[in-house]
Symmetry: D3
Subunit: 292 residues, 6 copies
């Protein structure tokens, strides 16, 4: 009997065993300490990996198989419970490392605030970067009840850093009046309610540019993603979200990194949300990584 | 340390603290004793209030904020368990009081039978009133296995009272053959399966008239509202229901009262249904109350 | 007090009390031992029956009532736990018996492998038979990790038996690359992602032919059927599936038998999936049995 | 293929097919319309039957097998939703019929109020009857918020009918101060908190007398029966309740009828409560019916 | 119709409407951002209040009724999401206020770290104070993976402040080896596994002293409290915990404040844990407040 | 950034990274295809590992830490779905390998049938071996409805192989009359209902002998382990089961291998059962492995 290496049980299906040889790195950011409503997204990445065994390795949408892309599942980044600032610093430094090694970062949240340090790190490498943001919520607050480090402020921080005109939000159906007004004044793109059609209009404008894509699973209607912190009805279907991922894959933009956040398994006993997230991750790997 | 008044914990977000100054009154009718299948809607109003803290106060659909409408959350009307007749009498007298005080009544069920005493009270004040009814079920029975006071008979009672031609049902996909036939014979409007398109055709005909709107949450597909007594597939999406609420808001009818019924939280561990109901209530407040 | 016969508690609503007089027979095949992901569909048939009491007996889609069709609910076929081969043999012989008696077989799974012995039996009687297959998955494997008797191989077995050109798959969104290629090479029809529109194109080609229809509940999006073994997002709505059933009912094909499989109640605490399945069964009875 | 009689799916394991030959009759009373907290016990009897297939037919406690007792599962008594008085009348007349036919009545609730008509019927036949009552709650109210027909009043009604000194309550840990005082004044037996030890003291005093035993499943600690309307911690274990049933079986009292009430499956996703209830029913059948 | 004050929906049953006149104040501390395993206790206080309507107002254990004690339910203290230090400061200042007003503080968590600022505030007023601690876990860490503000460090902080010899822990069954050793070296009392018997021995030694009692609901076995962050089998029963509360009530110590923490409703669909917590709160009010 | 080896995410807490150096091997046997009631134990091992992060590494019962024992978590043995015979053969050969390498086997089920091939392998090495068996069920059937390979036959097979007098069953509360009789005739030890006290009597008789211990989690009362296939009330507490493990640890028997089976996570939304199982595994590692 031979066990040449430690059992690697809970990895995303078909992840590559070797970091060095991989083009992309999949990692979890198990943080949920600033959420204002229902916590639990810290367990999102582990559950997404666990249910990925129910996936086929082949995408009939893209006609590609997972073994055509070398991605390494690096597990979850250990983050200090209840300390947002230190968590953010750890993530930023982690992404710095990935980018130094030339890897495509593919993150799984965790609350949406985890995208903030990733975007900071990406921006250092890609100063002409744009951000595509799919979400039910604007996330454009300056702070949340006094806390500047909040999941509800992530896109505002990104907009302040890379310029509001470089941020494109889709599917938004919730936010403060002030947030919508701020976006309008700043010339930031917000598509309310819809994703696919406005995205198709925006993509040609971004042709050739490096783009980071951040998807909050709650852009889906709660019917399609009940397992998340803040459900908000009137969202898009998983069919539309898949089509949006494929629209990006078929466009001329250069995806340089991406994440999928806010899967909170405990609110979804059927595990529909984690299963859906795992399929979205597969399509993001197959559709976006090769763009690099 | 100062507590000037008792803690009022579980109220709908942004409800007004003062009854006298309010234009609308939000109240729960926690009754489910005549339901024929799965009980539990008595806990609907409390759960809808509880999750309303996850809502934003601003509607990007209507571009209005909750503080623009003064509504008072009066809590649940205490109803005697297992006594439908007395419950109905209590509700009717409660609504009589609200109308006397010039308030817009906005009720949360509870089973659909609770709409019956409300409609009775409204009709006394608005004898030219019409009823718009969104539901999966006809609710046109004369009785249910011998019981005339049944959630399955509420629309029949309303039709008998205000005249079948003044009742407009939408989204219906379940009922006895006799119920559909009775409606046809009586000239009552029933739109099978769909809501938004037929509603848009009906609204101009009702221009200027006082209308009471009653929404059974099961008009939504179970994917969008699993937490209800009798789920029935093939329903509309929450997007379509939101659009229907907005169509009414943008029409020339005069909404004089409304309710949302049949949210039964125990059948929905993800609380999607209660969250959706709380958003619908927000839109009903923002879109309909000012019509008064 | 008189009890002339044993209490027959959990039967499908309005099932006929007498086998001899019935045109159709409804039976459960409570087998889930070869499933590769989440087991539990053995309890599907019982739960579908149980919630059928929440159904109306009348279909406003087809304008027919259940009492217009005589169907006998024969309960579940007792199957030996963990023995796929013997289970298959028992089912085949059971169906042989039904066909001898001139009955229309209407089966409820259980895992999809249960359709294999039914198709074998049907084919003996209807050698010119075609199969219409609605599913998220191709099910065209030759074996699953070495096991030829697998829920993932059922359509391959059927295709091998009746000829790939006689099998029409709809709604497929998951499978191995090899499976899609095999189908293409063999001239087997696969409609990816969609059901209703391609079905409408296919039906005229099958006019007059005997057709067996097998529906895997996971052809529905997980939003509409979370209670199944392998959920896969991007599926169709229950509205589209109902319309597809009605399209078949309105066509010139001759449905000679059918099944609905893979309802696994434990993954759906709201029981949406079982309720939906019971409505689908009602429409299949009302729409298809009279074709015989 | 032969089906000599209709499929009788959901019956309690090993129930006898023939009413006439049976000594005992098992029946459900699916009523929950007067409950003051969480409804749902109407589905108790069906779920208890369903999970009874997980039971062995042999009791290692009593060294008896179910086939040694002929009991007929008569299904659920159809009761009118939301009408307590009519429901009670129907049950009383049903029990009258059973007693006329010389059957031992074994009822499954439903809310506790269902025991009231049974006790009325029993008392007509056994005027020297005592009642043994195991429950978390006194159930000694005269009315509940004005309603005399309430699950919280059942034991008071029984005590008023057969005399408080003939009622023996065990395991009580919840009630109004007035209820405890009334019991004391009237000389009614109440054992607070405990069941087995005080029961052993009481049983000899009841030797030779006909006794009706009513068990509210909430006498168990919520750890052992989470699936009930009103859980109340500090209760007994299922081991102690089994031992109490066996103590009665081994005593010299003459059990003439019994019930087990308040199983509400929806609050117990693990179905522990229904499984436990089905085992308790088995022991009640094996231990008590032969006393007749 | 008159509504003299705002609807106060979700308050603990029989709470007094007036702060000034009350002897005790019940408040929630909805914080869970430092938990290392499963978050969700922020929703504990609201759910405990909600289910308290299922309680009787009378305790048959203590023969007292809630109206004999004036306690004011002050609702939840608003705490900044994800900021432990600021949360702690807010709580401490809140308790300072209560103590100034001469109130008995009765807190509901939230994670166990919330007890830390309460103890700090209490100690300023009662420098000879002891702490009684019931818990599955030692909570004696200096930090948790580098974070000194952690739910796993609360008792260590308390011991460092008031002296380890003034802290008495009961029911402990989980911790680092170092924690147990530290306690031993410091002369701190730890009763492993058991609560009631060792408590009875300790109470006389504390006679006359002011004591703060902090109960982590996970001192209960998971069978009795599944709805908590870190379940750990081998715990005590709710019967033993009730008896321990009553033992304190009957002793000569002077309880000056108390809390019950770590109820996390989402992990307990049956709501057994919240129901149990609400009964424990009732007994703490009835048994301990009058000691003041 | 350095990743020297693949991420090994879901391993039991503190498992040793190296197979060669380890004394014990922990492995999962994810098979549930012969279960007669509720399937799902295939997911037991993965969930037990996942929740093990909530465990402390130190046992205050045994005063030992996990790092004192080198155990290697080898993951789950891949088993062919629906093929019991092949699954058994694979397991037996796997254990043969472990024993050849001198490892202590510690298995996690899966259904109880998985213990059969382990015992076969162990017996080849330890022909004087005894089996200690803790379970709610006898598991002494010769076959289950004709299937000799059944979870209900595992102990019978073991008894036939090693001799009934070498098998000691504890906690049994369910089985056929014939099973109990067979055990009696054969001189096999069965302690009904209880575990700890009879175990203490048996242990001295087994002093010095190699013993394999197999624990079915359903020996616990459903209150302590709701997440299993066949719950059966009247069982022991987790406290008693822990004490039984410790009694074996403190005895003079030589545990040569062991397993814990039948954890089925889907039936336990609170994950109490998996958490309890992970603690039991920790105690088995700390208490039993060093006996080797």
């Amino acid at each position: 009997m031979r066990f040449d290496e430690a059992y690697s049980g809970n990895v995303f299906i078909k992840s590559h065993p070797n970091y060095e040889e991989s083009e992309a790195v999949l990692y979890g950011m198990p943080m949920d300490w600033t959420v204002s409503f229902r916590p639990g997204s810290r367990f999102g990445p582990a559950r997404i990996r666990e249910v990925s065994i129910g996936l086929e390795e082949y995408s009939p949408y893209l006609d590609r198989e997972l073994e055509e892309v070398k991605f390494f599942d690096a597990g979850d980044i250990p983050l200090p419970f209840g300390n947002p600032q230190k968590s953010i610093d750890i993530i930023e430094s982690y992404i710095d490392g990935l980018l130094e090694d030339g890897k495509f970062p593919l993150g799984m949240g965790g609350e949406h605030l985890v995208s903030w340090p990733v975007i900071k790190a990406m921006y250092k490498k890609y100063p002409d970067m744009a951000v595509i943001h799919m979400d039910a919520h604007t996330d454009l607050r300056e702070d949340y009840e006094g806390e500047p480090l909040s999941h509800a402020a992530i896109i505002r921080k990104a907009a302040d850093l890379i310029g509001p005109k470089n941020v494109y939000s889709f599917g938004i159906r919730s936010g403060l009046k002030e947030e919508f007004e701020w976006a309008k004044e700043q010339g930031m793109h917000i598509s309310k309610f819809e994703v696919l059609e406005p995205l198709k209009e925006v993509l040609p404008k971004l042709a050739g540019r490096p783009v980071y894509v951040t998807i909050d699973i709650d852009v889906l209607d709660p019917a399609h993603a009940p397992g998340t912190g803040t459900v908000d009805c009137g969202g898009i279907t998983s069919k539309e979200l898949l089509a949006s991922i494929h629209a990006i894959a078929g466009s001329d933009i250069k995806v340089v990194g991406c994440d999928l956040v806010e899967v909170a398994p405990v609110y979804d006993p059927s595990e529909q949300t984690a299963n859906t997230a795992s399929k979205l991750i597969r399509e993001m790997i197959l559709g976006w990584v090769q763009k690099k």
